[in-house]
């Protein structure tokens, strides 16, 4: 699978990574190389195989729907690049 520059630019946008025009070619080459390599999986017949959904054979636990933590606003915000009035602050998104 050979990725073109437009596809790489689209993936970068989906991944929310700014990628300058001059980097697209080299990234396309590297990603194509990896995708070519993983495509050897197509040689494996898997029509009747269920995909793995759980590594260990155990079912997820249930727990009572109770609040067990909280009231730690200061801790939650302690590492925020910008916090205002007890909230995370971001650039304006609504005009």
């Amino acid at each position: 699978m050979s990725l073109d520059k437009a596809t790489v630019a689209r993936i970068a946008h989906l991944a929310r990574i700014r990628m300058p025009e001059e980097d697209l070619d080299s990234m396309a080459t590297e990603l194509s190389r990896i995708l070519d390599w993983v495509e050897q999986l197509n040689a494996v017949p898997t029509d009747d195989v269920a995909p793995m959904t759980s590594v260990a054979p155990h079912t997820l636990r249930r727990r009572p729907d109770e609040v067990t933590d909280g009231r730690v606003q200061g801790k939650v915000l302690a590492n925020a690049p910008e916090a205002v009035s007890g909230f995370f602050a971001v650039p304006k998104v609504v005009e």
Binding site: R16, I17, E30, R33, V38, T46, P51, V55, A56, A80
Partner: protein, 496 residues
């Protein structure tokens, strides 16, 4: 008199515990010796954060408890912590620019367990960015130097393996009695092989993942890195626990792992997977593997050839599953709640700028591969296909374990290579994990034990893989290999 009797940095964890109990050494003395070793070996770049004051405070508290006849199983034992474990009040970066300045307000379950049992944390160790790498060359803090780099070879420094390269280098260089690592596709076992130490990846679910910076959630598992198999058993006993905060943590009793080290493997069947004889395997790896079989046979076990037909597909399946999970996990780094923020004219631009400047090239590659294989129209062809192959890989192992008790393989396909090598082509770097990734995909426990060295003098390990939650057999067989190989005393040239 052995060096360990006079130099606390030459002790094993087990010996240090005995020395503490006998009052032959104090926790403060033990910690001071390791702080000094940490400072003397700074050129290795193994530690990214040193916390000597906190360590000494903890050591004094340990001495007070020991004086009263109290104390946990690791009371006063100085350890290094891989910088992917969140440590309350100590910066945790996972080797990434995007997390620089992040100081957790909580402690990961695994490190909290170690501290509860009396361990003394010396500092945080270097690792590949988000644990993505096999050479510890993708860290924002720079590469780690393998203490096995020959003296006088400063123009060709060796890598310690990765991603837990700082932990491996610290344990090998005697600047920590032991360390924590994490293993997603080999990140404990491969650096253990490269640095001549013991590295144990437990069964998926044995140790809580809570508070560990996530890479690939269905594969990540914490484990010990030590200078003896017994030490690995001791550390795992403290690290393992059932944790309601990790939904994949398994609620089962933690055995006395050290009690499994009986040395008795008589009658055990040891699987030798024929598919691990890969094309172009160096003769010295082949010879060491054969030597391992001979050692186990001499101890009364029976090596038998087995087949794991899906082996060749493990690496490509891994390089779909792991990046897919990484792209999802790393979506959280958006410049809003913690870590780096690079401004932009809009919220979207801020996200894109932050992630462009915060992530290194290997992380970007993996996030983009993961984004692609999960995107509309490609999910079935890549991700679903890989998860089906993963089922087949797990089935291979399950079938093998119908007839064998453990599996013996090499850990890594080579001795350590030099910093800068294998970096032109990502796939060449990925091949380092060819022997460790299959067990990771199946969630099985695996240990790497130092077993010999190559023609270049670099260390080589052998790997023992076991049934799920049968770390005891893995440790027992590993202990027999360790005794037979007699590598425990081997010290690297660049040592404290």
């Amino acid at each position: 008199m052995p060096a360990s009797a006079t130099d606390p940095t030459r002790m094993t964890v087990a010996e240090a515990r005995d020395a503490l109990a006998a009052k032959a050494v104090s926790a403060v003395e033990l910690t001071e010796a390791h702080i000094a070793a940490m400072e003397r070996t700074r050129a290795l770049n193994a530690y990214v954060a040193e916390t000597p004051e906190r360590a000494l405070e903890a050591a004094r508290a340990s001495d007070a408890r020991l004086a009263k006849g109290e104390g946990g199983p690791l009371e006063g034992i100085p350890l290094a912590i891989k910088d992917v474990f969140c440590t309350e009040g100590v910066e945790t970066t996972a080797g990434s620019r995007i997390l620089q300045g992040f100081t957790p307000t909580y402690e990961s379950t695994v490190t909290a367990n170690l501290l509860r049992d009396g361990a003394v944390a010396l500092g945080k160790t270097n690792c590949d960015e988000f644990a993505m790498g096999s050479a510890n060359v993708t860290s924002i803090h720079g590469p780690v130097i393998n203490p096995w780099t020959p003296a006088g070879s400063d123009d060709r420094l060796l890598v310690p393996g990765g991603s837990s390269g700082g932990s491996a280098a610290a344990v090998a260089a005697r600047s920590a009695l032991a360390a924590t690592g994490t293993d997603t596709g080999g990140s404990i076992r491969q650096p253990a092989s490269f640095t001549g130490i013991v590295g144990l990846k437990p069964t998926y679910g044995r140790c809580s993942r809570w508070g560990i910076v996530a890479f690939a959630s269905s594969l990540d598992q914490a484990g010990p890195m030590t200078r003896s198999v017994r030490d690995a058993a001791i550390l795992l006993g403290s690290m393992a626990s059932f944790d309601p905060k990790d939904s994949t943590s398994v609620d089962m009793a933690v055995p006395d792992f050290a009690a499994a080290l009986t040395g008795d493997i008589r009658g055990m069947k040891i699987g030798i997977p024929k598919e691990y004889r890969i094309d172009g395997m160096p003769a010295e790896i082949e010879a060491l593997w054969q030597q391992g079989m001979d050692w186990l046979r001499a101890a009364g076990a029976e090596p038998v050839e087995i087949s794991l037909p899906m082996t060749q597909y493990a690496l490509p399946a891994y390089y779909i599953v792991a990046p897919a999970e990484a792209s999802s996990n790393l979506a959280r780094y958006d410049g809003v709640r913690y870590g780096l923020r690079v401004p932009g004219d809009s919220l979207l631009e801020m996200y894109e700028n932050t992630r462009a400047e915060g992530f290194g090239r290997e992380v970007k590659r993996r996030v983009m591969i993961g984004t692609y294989v999960l995107s509309a129209g490609y999910y079935d062809a890549y991700y679903l296909k890989a998860q089906k192959v993963r089922t087949l890989i797990a089935r291979d192992f399950a079938t093998a374990f119908d007839t064998v008790d453990a599996i013996l393989t090499p850990t890594a396909p080579s001795t350590p290579f030099a910093i800068g090598e294998k970096q032109d082509d990502p796939v060449q770097m990925y091949l380092n994990d060819v022997f460790t990734v299959p067990a990771s995909l199946a969630g099985l426990p695996g240990i790497s034990v130092p077993a010999g060295s190559g023609a270049d003098g670099g260390p080589l390990g052998l790997q023992v893989i076991g049934r799920a939650f049968d770390e005891e057999t893995v440790l027992r067989v590993g202990g027999v290999l360790e005794d037979a190989a007699g590598q425990q005393a081997a010290e690297p040239p660049r040592i404290a």
